[in-house]
């Protein structure tokens, strides 16, 4: 047997079962073919499949596992559904605050206070330090 015939015969069998005598004899006499044989058989031996299918009930066990994994997710979803409007309101309030803050002129503090004191009746009352005047009817407020 020559090396080509040996390799062709080796290529036809992918399992690691016993080898015909003539192939074994060639592998023992040719170092290169011997190494090729050992290499292929190491892979085949180490990757041997002893069972063709999983144990009975594989699908049932998988279903149980999926249900166990889904339940917490639904629980978290429920919390998420409840919390979502609250988060939305909080985000809206934060945006409104930022918007109002940025709408107020950002000049020096005393200028802002002057603006309030001169133009805004409520602001001027607050700055006057008399909360009772603030609570008084609007027509009594100084203009």
């Amino acid at each position: 047997m020559d090396c080509r015939a040996f390799l062709e015969a080796l290529g036809r069998g992918r399992d690691a079962g016993p080898l015909p005598v003539e192939l074994r004899q060639h592998a023992e006499s040719c170092r290169s073919c011997g190494l090729e044989l050992r290499t292929r058989r190491l892979l085949a031996l180490g990757s041997h499949v002893s069972a063709e299918a999983p144990r009975a009930g594989f699908a049932g066990r998988l279903r149980a596992r999926l249900q166990a994994e889904v339940r917490p997710a639904e629980w978290y979803d429920a919390i998420g559904r409840m919390a979502r409007p609250a988060f939305g309101l909080a985000a809206a309030a934060a945006l409104l605050t930022v918007g109002l803050y940025s709408a107020v002129p950002s000049g020096a503090g005393p200028d802002d206070l002057t603006f309030l004191a001169e133009r805004d009746p409520v602001g001027s009352l607050l700055l006057s330090g008399s909360p009772i005047d603030v609570l008084a009817p609007a027509e009594r407020a100084p203009r």
Partner: protein
């Protein structure tokens, strides 16, 4: 009545129909288990990884568009699951060889030469060989098994591993070289 296609079943599973997913599992569990079992010798370990594969399929089935065959998409998930699991248990060949007892080493050597062995000795040889293969880089091992044992083409391996044909060819060449070194390192005892 015609059998529903994988694509139809996947679409229904994506919509939350567990019955459709069950049919997909029944249809493909054997293929996935046999592939995973190539890498994990203990059938219980193989089943754990096969279950991981289907859990990932359930989570990702909404992303399957039906452009490629379902098998390619499934095998891609399966090979990645195997790769992740192999990475966690990789060990050095020197460690395995150092722990190799006299008899199993002899059975392995005889099995590598193609000798006929008793069932118990053949089982010993397979166990040691499987331990040795854990020294290979997980990507090398996946490519070798898919090409040399599953008989997949370079193109199919590229699809299953999410790689290119060129990258698979280079990986296969390096993997065979690494496997050859591993085979050479097994002490000859017969």
């Amino acid at each position: 009545m015609d059998e529903p296609t994988d694509r139809d079943l996947a679409a229904k599973a994506a919509a939350g129909e567990t019955a459709a997913f069950d049919v997909l599992v029944e249809r493909w569990q054997g293929r996935v288990f046999r592939l995973v079992h190539r890498f994990f010798r203990n059938p219980a370990d193989a089943e754990d990884v096969a279950q991981d594969v289907f859990v990932k399929v359930w989570r990702a089935v909404g992303g399957y568009r039906g452009v490629a065959p379902f098998e390619h998409w499934l095998l891609r998930i399966a090979t990645h699951a195997c790769y992740d699991a192999l990475r966690q248990r990789r060990r050095r060949s020197e460690t395995v060889l150092a722990q190799l007892a006299e008899d199993p080493g002899r059975w392995l050597d005889a099995a590598l030469l193609g000798a006929s062995l008793e069932a118990a000795r053949a089982e010993d040889a397979r166990r040691v060989a499987a331990n040795l293969l854990e020294a290979l880089h997980p990507k090398d091992r996946v490519v070798l098994v898919l090409m040399d044992l599953e008989g997949m083409s370079t193109e199919d391996v590229a699809k299953a591993t999410g790689s290119t044909r060129g990258a698979v060819k280079i990986r296969a060449m390096r993997a065979r070289r690494a496997l050859r070194r591993l085979a050479e390192s097994v002490p000859r005892r017969t």
